[in-house]
């Protein structure tokens, strides 16, 4: 039994080196930027929807929630030339004519690039080790390129997607068609179809000034070496989602998707989300809902509570050829407390896997995050963030990883961004694959030892989009 365990640990260690590379890719990924395709469509500034992008301000959140549409009648605000594919009067001819739509007059495409210079102040820290001991890493100064497509087919149907190009290849980050206002009052019932990011929060998935994903991804089956194609709550998957906003205060989402399966199987992933906002502007931005100070479109006094449930079934082949099936059941929740220009985003989720170990076995995982930010100027936002992960495998030691981030995000121009972020980390033990798939850099040598706190990296990032 002990020999099996050691063999299993060795296997995990080998996979760990592969996953270490994966770790770096995750850490260097700041996929989300602003979307100039929308700026061009409406002839408006990035600042209409963002503070320091990709963080959305209150209007931007409403725009996203409304299926990438302005409040009211979306086409009223479109300044870009539109090619009518049939005039509205053709609706009277249906079904003897095709229901009319529109085409953006210009190709609704935007480009963006981002990357960072990384400094490792502690040569012996995990961050420096991940960069082969280099104290300064300029290899990813331009680490990624992005192509976004965003626009509308008419006042109800919109589209939004993103391709990312990086050293690892090209990936469809997400792309979806949004059928909005299907019945009843505006925004009550919408349908999104495509490779979409599941709605597990009332706020956008990139609601952070310091990291890429506000809800930290936790790829448990990857952490334990079972598969590199690991499901997590934050990733986009092929599926559909029904969502909406009721009375401007309550938002919901119910969705199903194919999840992360190496082999085709019947869709088995299901999730649901519910959120409620107390005070402040409406979640849908309708009915003249405006911020108290128009010079501070991010500022209000409000509290939003949200929760989600996610059940995912994954099927993957283990290294020995055996096919494993893992079911993850996740409960989570969070809050956003806003006091003028101060904002606190907190959340946590508990994930239980019935078969996440490489050789099979249960794992319970906890992920928690808090981010406090303050908008000093519209172009300057300092923030601090804490992320905590705890993994408890059946029959193995529980391990934890605590990460702290402190930094500032700044706009040089509305579409040029810099950020400076220091990451400190402490880990007690580590899963066999290292903390990489959980975005950690600390590298305890055994599952029971600990390291840190240590300064893993100081990152100076650059992003621009046009």
């Amino acid at each position: 039994m002990e020999a099996d365990r050691k063999r299993s640990l060795r296997r995990w260690t080998v996979r760990g080196s592969v996953l270490g590379i994966f770790t770096l890719l995750l850490l260097t990924a700041r996929a989300a930027l602003g979307v100039p395709a929308f700026a061009r469509k409406y002839g408006t500034s990035c600042l209409t929807c963002h503070t320091v992008y990709p963080k959305l301000n209150l209007f931007g959140e409403a725009f996203r929630r409304n299926g990438y549409r302005f409040p009211g009648v979306d086409s009223d605000f479109v300044k870009q030339a539109v090619v009518p594919l049939g005039q509205d009067a053709y609706k009277k001819e249906f079904p003897h004519a095709v229901w009319p739509g529109t085409l953006p007059g210009d190709v609704p495409i935007a480009l963006g690039f981002n990357g960072q210079a990384v400094f490792h102040p502690e040569a012996r820290a995990g961050g420096a080790a991940a960069d082969n001991g280099a104290r300064v890493n300029l290899n990813d100064l331009i680490g990624e390129a992005h192509v976004w497509a965003g626009g509308s087919f008419d006042d109800q149907i919109t589209f939004f997607g993103e391709l990312t190009f990086a050293d690892g290849g090209t990936e469809i980050e997400h792309v979806g068609v949004h059928f909005n206002d299907l019945v009843g009052e505006p925004h009550v019932l919408n349908l999104a179809v495509g490779k979409i990011v599941p709605t597990v929060s009332t706020f956008g998935p990139h609601s952070s000034y310091l990291v890429d994903q506000a809800t930290p991804p936790l790829s448990v089956t990857a952490l334990y070496g079972a598969t590199s194609d690991s499901w997590n709550v934050a990733d986009a998957y092929d599926g559909l989602e029904v969502n909406g906003t009721i009375d401007g205060r309550l938002d919901y989402a119910v969705g199903g998707n194919a999840g992360a399966n190496v082999e085709v199987r019947s869709p088995a992933d299901f999730y649901a989300h519910l959120g409620y906002k107390l005070g402040g502007v409406r979640l849908d931005g309708e009915k003249g809902s405006t911020v108290p100070d128009p010079k501070k479109p991010w500022a209000e006094k409000a509290l939003t509570l949200h929760a989600f449930y996610y059940r995912s079934g994954s099927r993957f082949s283990a290294a020995d050829g055996a096919v494993l099936e893992d079911t993850a059941t996740t409960f989570g929740g969070g809050l956003r407390a806003q006091w003028n220009s101060w904002e606190l985003d907190s959340g946590a989720y508990q994930e239980r896997h019935d078969n996440a170990l490489a050789g099979g076995g249960r794992v319970s995982a906890l992920a928690q995050y808090d981010e406090l930010s303050y908008v000093i100027y519209p172009w300057l936002v300092p923030a601090v963030r804490v992320e905590y992960v705890r993994l408890s495998p059946a029959g193995g030691p529980a391990v934890t990883d605590l990460r702290g981030f402190a930094g500032v995000a700044a706009l040089v121009r509305p579409n040029i961004k810099l950020w400076l972020v220091a990451q400190v980390e402490r880990a007690t033990g580590a899963p066999p694959g290292g903390w990489g798939p959980a975005s950690g850099l600390a590298a305890p040598t055994t599952a029971t030892s600990s390291v840190g706190p240590e300064v893993e990296a100081i990152t100076l990032g650059l992003a621009f989009a046009f």
């Binding site: 009211g72 009223d76 605000f77 005039q87 509205d88 009067a89 001819e93 004519a97 529109t102």
Partner: protein, 203 residues
């Protein structure tokens, strides 16, 4: 005019607007009466080109006239044409491609396919707004505003309009727009003078 759907929602105009102020009826009564003029503001402004200001329930009988609506460069020119009920519109085709003219509104008509330089006509019996479509080119859009009287004018690109030759009296001034609306207003016309009335269009 009150019975017809003057605020029907039509498509967004894809065609450029021939910015002219038409004042049908001016030939009939320009020598007498007063003028109703003013300005229309629209939010959003891009729909302003599809706006007609008209007077309701003006007594009298009005002779039928003939106007023309051209198809040139795959656009209806003018974009908005005003005629009086009983009037005839000659639909022209000065393109080098075939066109069709039909309207799904009110009386509904389909003039079929006509070749370059061919003319087909239609006489409007009923007042209302008739969307002009071409089944061969679904992006083409125009409007024929058929008034109960000749006292109507398409607003110019700056929103101004003028309806000359209006008999002295008090009338209801109304406005039609393809997407927007505004409340009617009373206007009193004095012989030889200009009465001002303005509108602010919104959703």
């Amino acid at each position: 005019m009150g019975a017809h759907p003057v605020h029907s929602v039509f498509g967004v105009a894809g065609c450029a607007f021939a910015a002219v102020v038409l004042t049908l009826g001016s030939a009939v009564a320009s020598a007498a009466g007063g003028t109703v003029s003013g300005k229309v503001e629209a939010t959003p402004a891009k729909f302003l080109e599809e706006t007609v200001v008209y007077l309701k329930e003006v007594p009298g009988s009005f002779p039928a006239k003939t106007a023309s609506l051209d198809q040139r460069g795959m656009k209806f020119i003018p974009h908005v044409l005003v005629v009086t009920a009983g009037g005839t519109v000659d639909f022209l085709n000065h393109d080098t491609v075939a066109h069709n003219v039909f309207s799904p509104d009110n009386e509904t008509y389909n003039l079929g396919t006509f070749k370059p330089d061919e003319k087909r006509s239609y006489t409007f019996k009923t007042g209302g707004v008739y969307t002009q479509l071409c089944s061969i080119h679904p992006e083409m859009l125009g409007f024929v505003f058929v008034g109960e009287n000749p006292y109507a004018a398409v607003v110019g690109p700056d929103g101004t309009f003028a309806i000359p030759g209006v008999p002295a009296g008090t009338y209801t001034a109304a406005v039609w727009n393809s997407h927007l609306k505004a409340a009617d207003k009373k206007v009193t016309v004095t012989e030889g003078k200009t009465a001002e009335v303005s509108f602010s269009l919104h959703r």
